[in-house]
């Protein structure tokens, strides 16, 4: 599923106009607030750990998607995911969410967590 989302996002990226917003300008603190206020965490989890709607929703912590691909998925959406139009989620907020996701701690080595090794 994750691979599918990534692939589709890359296709969308190719269709996007040049000059897409620079993700590095995002405000991670505001991104965290918006991530929750617009309900991204409903499917993807507050820690970007992933979840499920009618099928698995991918983990987004430290997402490997390039920013424009990420924004493309948000605007047009894939399968059952809600699409967030500019009026609902301005580009600035998208950049902030992206910055927040990049700021998340992401995965830890599973071997460091004893109870995951049963």
């Amino acid at each position: 599923m994750k691979a599918y989302v990534l692939g589709a996002a890359v296709l969308m990226l190719a269709a996007l106009p040049a000059g897409a917003q620079d993700a590095s300008k995002g405000d991670a603190a505001n991104g965290k607030r918006v991530f929750v206020s617009v309900g991204c965490h409903y499917c993807h989890g507050r820690s970007g750990q992933g979840g499920a709607l009618n099928y698995p929703a991918p983990a987004l912590a430290q997402t490997q998607l390039p920013f424009d691909g990420f924004k493309g998925v948000l605007r047009e959406s894939l399968r059952d995911m809600p699409a967030y139009v500019e009026a609902v989620l301005p580009d600035k907020d998208v950049a902030d969410i992206y910055a927040f996701l990049q700021s998340l701690p992401g995965r830890r080595p599973a071997k460091d967590i004893a109870i995951l090794n049963n």
Binding site: R46, N54, R108, I115, L116, N118
Partner: protein, 647 residues
């Protein structure tokens, strides 16, 4: 027609005669001709007719005795019938329309089947649902045939969809002249079975005790013959309560051995040929294994073929950590399949297609167009017109009608007969690759579980891992799960026949808690540690089930995944709002369970159940689970309220 109470007094007739006499007297008193009126009739026409011998006898002899006691009852005989069916429990919420049977159970047969007191009929049936999937046989359930049955319908529909036998009965008062004014009229119906006929296998309203015996045994056999399902008997109150009149002629028919239908041997041979010749065969399974034999056959077939297995987890079909278990890699596996064998899969189309819930709903196949699809199952043996639980029609190359589990040994034998050394070698190579992929999936699952490990609200992965580490060395049984919580099947070593028992079938909310209690009841006699996860929304439908667990001392560790919402609906509403570009700020209205937040541990304590929580700090989980497990191990239920991230 149901028997009349043979010792009931003939009060009606007696009063009628008295009334006639009084009327005659009154007529005589008013017989004086009025001053100016119509001409008076002849005086003799105003007198009552002269009494005949029967009337004289009725007037002069002592009144017919109105007996206050009886020595036998139809209910006693009904209990004798249940004894032959090996029914251990009778779940109910007490009601007058079956007071005859109720009294017979508790006094004539020393509370056997043991009565389970349930505060709602939906709870009683759902308990039977969970019980049957662990114990392999039904418990009995009885209710008011009209109002109680309406409460029970959702749970009966779940059992129907999940192909689970629940032996349902409803009290009724069939004869109109026997109904007391008031409640007995609104609680009676000509045909109570009409309400549930679309989702029961069979129903009947016996009109004599012999009829009851025949139908009671038939109902059991029908319920237990795959495809299994709920059945309903309407029990006339007169039949339950009145003395037995024909004891010397009553007999209880024998049940006999119930043998499930098997797939055609020629068709199974054809299926075996396709499977053995395939490069990438895949086995799909859903409501397949109902006993240890089914699980063993499934493992043997997969290992003989060394092929991928995708388990839709409708039953305990296949070990979660088996090297051939590709349930969490289904896309790529199905994309490469050239032969697909679907065993008791209800929704074959849904498994083989990817559906998109967008403005224009669309789908695309996930399997190759030329992949051969074989089905073995009983779906088409039990299909009705109205409710659409049969799912979309799948295109299939070979549809074998027969019970999946019963057909597996014959299929396996055919497969083994066809496997030569060349194929064995190819199979081994295939199995090796699948095994490597499985190991990678397990590592991926562990890695995924680390995301947000220390977060609050707690991740569902952390919640499941914390429970597993404390039960893994016990003889445990997982009997319930919250919606789309895949972590137990991703992280836990689920391999014994009773370590998983599927889901609701009809996705009717209010199933998980009572069905888990029913499954725990079945596990109790085996000394297993029963655990279940369940959503807060599901709990809110049937919290009273906890009282039943406490009252009957049913040990169960129930972990509430408390995301404070009917979360699937939050997401759907979010999707609707986003579709209109209106933002999702209002998606919580009508979908969340907040303001106030529910304190489930306190609710549990109110029902006499040990309660822990609400737990928001993941580090507090382990000690809470330990305390709760200690309660469960001493034979009582316990609840842990875990405040989690949505999914």
């Amino acid at each position: 027609m149901p028997q009349r109470r043979d010792d009931s007094p003939v009060i009606g007739r007696r009063n009628f005669l008295k009334g006639a006499t009084l009327a005659g007297t009154a007529a005589a008193i008013t017989a004086s001709p009025p001053a100016k009126a119509m001409p008076a009739p002849p005086a003799d026409t105003l007198k009552a007719a002269l009494p005949g011998p029967r009337q004289i006898a009725a007037e002069t002899q002592p009144p017919v005795k109105d007996p206050a006691t009886q020595t036998t009852s139809g209910g006693d005989f009904m209990v004798d019938v249940f004894k032959t069916l090996d029914i251990d429990y009778l779940a109910m919420n007490c009601a007058s329309s079956f007071r005859g049977l109720h009294e017979a159970v508790i006094n004539y047969n020393n509370n056997k089947p043991e009565i389970l007191t349930c505060p709602h009929e939906e709870i009683a049936v759902a308990m039977g649902h969970g019980y049957a999937k662990i114990e392999g046989k039904p418990l009995a359930f009885i209710c008011h045939g009209v109002v109680g049955l309406q409460h029970a319908t959702m749970a009966m529909y779940n059992a129907w969809c999940d192909r689970v036998p629940v032996y349902c009965m409803g009290g009724n008062i069939v004869e109109a002249d026997k109904r007391m004014p008031g409640a007995e009229w609104v609680h009676s119906a000509v045909d109570i079975g009409a309400l549930t006929r679309d989702f029961t296998k069979w129903d009947d309203q016996p009109t004599s005790l012999q009829h009851f015996a025949d139908s009671a045994v038939r109902a059991y056999r029908v319920a237990m013959t795959p495809p299994m399902g709920p059945v309903l008997l309407s029990l006339d109150a007169e039949l339950q309560e009145n003395p037995i009149r024909d004891a010397e002629t009553l007999r209880i028919p024998k049940l006999g051995k119930v043998v499930p239908p098997m797939g055609d041997s020629g068709a199974l041979a054809e299926a075996a040929k396709l499977l053995v010749a395939a490069q990438n065969p895949v086995i799909l399974c859903d409501r397949l294994a109902r006993s240890p034999a089914g699980l063993a056959s499934m493992i043997e077939l997969a290992e003989t073929l060394q092929c991928a297995v995708i388990d839709n987890v409708g039953r305990m079909n296949f070990p979660s950590r088996h090297p051939l278990n590709m349930s969490f890699r289904r896309g790529p596996v199905l994309g490469q399949a050239d032969v697909i064998l679907a065993l008791e899969v209800n929704d074959v189309w849904g498994t083989l297609n990817q559906f998109s819930d967008r403005i224009v709903r669309s789908s695309r196949p996930v399997a190759k167009k030329d992949a051969k699809v074989i089905t073995i199952g009983t779906r088409e043996m039990l299909i009705k017109a109205n409710y659409q639980d049969f799912a979309r029609f799948p295109e299939v190359d070979l549809a074998i009608t027969g019970d999946g589990q019963a057909s597996l040994p014959a299929l396996l034998e055919q497969v083994k007969r066809l496997v030569d050394d060349g194929r064995k070698s190819a199979f081994a190579e295939r199995g090796k690759k699948l095994g490597a992929a499985r190991l990678a999936m397990i590592e991926q699952a562990k890695s995924d579980a680390t995301l947000g490990w220390d977060s609050s609200p707690i991740t569902t992965a952390r919640m499941c891992a914390e429970v597993y580490v404390q039960i893994k060395d016990e003889d445990w049984s997982l009997v319930g799960n919250s919606i789309r919580n895949t972590w137990p099947h991703r992280l836990w070593d689920i391999k014994k026949p009773y370590q998983w028992n599927g889901v609701s079938g009809g996705s009717g909310v209010g199933y998980n808690l009572p069905s888990s209690i029913g499954a725990a009841l079945a596990n109790k006699r085996h000394g297993r540690v029963t655990v279940a996860f369940g959503g807060d929304g599901d709990f809110m439908f049937v919290p009273g089930a906890l009282w039943t667990a406490a009252h009957h001392k049913i040990p169960l560790l129930y972990v509430i995944q408390n995301n404070r919402a009917y979360h699937q609906e939050v997401m759907y509403l979010q999707a609707m709002a986003a579709r209109h570009g209106r933002g999702i700020q209002n998606a919580h209205i009508g979908t969340t369970i907040t303001d106030p937040n529910v304190d489930y541990a306190t609710v549990a304590r109110g029902f006499g159940v040990h309660g822990e929580g609400p737990i928001t700090d993941p580090n507090e989980l382990a000690p809470a689970i330990k305390r709760a497990l200690a309660v469960v191990k001493r034979g009582e239920p316990a609840l842990i309220d875990v405040v989690t991230d949505p999914r």
